[in-house]
Subunit: 327 residues, 2 copies
């Protein structure tokens, strides 16, 4: 028996979540029984996709949905040894017991920090890779627009597109993030969407239109992109963060889909299991060669998970927002 | 030399077009020269797709865009004989001279009226066929929702889906059209969208959700459909008539694309040249077997083309709106 903690949703948020919507709840974690392991979470992820689920399938007063990397600290299971690292989607639990289902063994490259397995080599990286290359059907040298290019998914999308010889423009919400995208990630143009109307700014930096718009925002971003899409353009729809807190800005330019024969298509990372091996090989190589750069915003302390989640909607993350629970 | 007429756009419409935006202009049509034919238009089509083009690529004071069926009345061209029927997209001209480019010889089935070659066996039929079966990737037995199901395209879409064993619901704007769709075309459920809020009405008649939404309307129709789409649903985007006259109702439910992995894709009839042979064989057989029913609204007189076009936006057509110019 070990004392540990969980993060619970204790009431449904109205608009942007606030601290009082969550609670850090002490729980007693039993020892591993026969055929079980006990796990200690090391890193947890907070992601925009969680927000709509707080209105929907996330129950109150149980561990908040989410995933992380954990270490096996007790094993009475033939498939795991103490010290093994695993990925899990068991929710926000500091420690927990599992029969092994839903745990994915994690082999890490000694030249890469563990945290990259939570972003560029984790679900967000796979989302970027599959969304851009498979759903977006990117061709080398195309014109690409990435929204929230400073975020965990967007920054990987933008850099993969650059590696494929594309002209890449991105939007982000601060001059500091814009400078990183331009100077470090190597984008061709970056717009701080808070500094003026988006549509004319996007037009100015897309003289050859847009072949692929990687959609993370919705609303005015989508309208601005629709006005610039080339014939047979693709819009892989990864997220629509502008709509998640209830402010559903209407989209008005959808009739552009017709004459330009544009395809918009939604997806989630779990669609891309068949790509995982190629993704891991490609992105590991790109990271080790310094061809994909990343930023992380790491909050130390299990109890800071709600702060991290809320911070996503305030743009407080540069790159991936992570919670470090233990080393 | 023959006296004839053209329809011109004489000013850009504001919102719904009015009669004063158009003029019937007398012109002198020369005789066919060497290598030319003179044609007499028999039937002309007016279609919703024309409206956005009145704001865009339609020049003022020349023949209005559009197409029809014409008869060769003089021929000095080896490829055409007097009396031959052709399809053309030469604009709204009562008579005109052509070197043959852009004319498509028309072979008619003696058991079918000429007018069906302007709808079920014309561009609107091909739009319906390709949009539903190719872009919509319809599978037998699926759940289908068709907007403007009483229109020229929608009524063919709905009946092809019924022939494929699907459950089919449609919307239309009058009880009379709704009765035709239910009683003659055999739809499973029909909503008069003017008689109350659409979203709850659509929910009530789609207990198994929607696999394919054939989009002709946009705005509130699209939002209502998005709320009912099944996982891996498809939305072939044929038109967005609710937006064409400037009232661009914002669409708010697009984030449903993500988790349900919905594909929305625009298209135009000219994408479907590779389907034409199969389309003509299938639809001819279905029409002759009485398996596809149709309605026509035929206005007699070349000069009534503007009235016909304006009438589309007032829902004055049951099925295809045509202008009969000559017999």
């Amino acid at each position: 028996m070990t004392e540990s903690r969980q993060i619970h949703l204790v009431r449904r948020p109205r608009g942007v979540p606030v601290a009082e919507d969550f609670a850090v709840v002490p729980v007693a974690t039993p020892d591993a029984g026969a055929g079980e392991v006990q796990l200690q979470t090391l890193l947890m992820s907070v992601d925009p996709y969680m927000r709509p689920r707080l209105d929907a399938d996330q129950p109150l007063d149980v561990a908040l949905l989410g995933g992380g990397i954990a270490r096996v600290v007790q094993s009475r299971h033939d498939g795991f040894r103490e010290g093994d690292l695993v990925r899990h989607m068991a929710g926000m639990r500091e420690r927990f017991v599992s029969d092994g289902r839903g745990l994915t063994p994690l082999k890490v490259d000694p030249d890469l920090p563990l945290s990259v397995y939570m972003h560029a080599l984790g679900g967000t990286g796979l989302t970027a890779y599959g969304g851009l290359l498979e759903v977006g059907a990117l061709k080398d040298g195309e014109q690409v627009f990435v929204s929230t290019a400073g975020g965990a998914v967007g920054s990987v999308v933008a850099q993969i597109a650059k590696l494929k010889g594309c002209y890449v423009v991105g939007t982000t919400g601060s001059d500091e993030k814009a400078a990183w995208l331009r100077d470090v990630a190597g984008l061709d143009a970056v717009i701080n969407y808070k500094s003026g109307p988006l549509a004319p700014a996007l037009k100015a930096v897309t003289p050859k239109g847009i072949d692929v718009y990687f959609e993370n925002v919705g609303g005015a971003h989508l309208d601005a992109a629709l006005a610039r899409m080339n014939v047979r353009g693709r819009i892989p729809v990864c997220g629509m963060i502008s709509t998640y807190n209830g402010d559903r800005e209407g989209v008005r330019n959808l009739s552009n889909l017709i004459y330009s024969r544009i395809r918009m298509e939604g997806f989630v990372a779990s669609d891309f299991g068949h790509l995982r091996e190629r993704f891991e090989a490609d992105v590991t190589a790109w990271l080790k060669a310094g061809q994909i750069k990343y930023q992380e915003t790491i909050l130390d302390g299990f109890e800071r998970a709600p702060e991290g989640l809320i911070g996503l909607f305030e743009g407080r993350n540069a790159g991936k927002m992570l919670i470090r629970v233990a080393a």
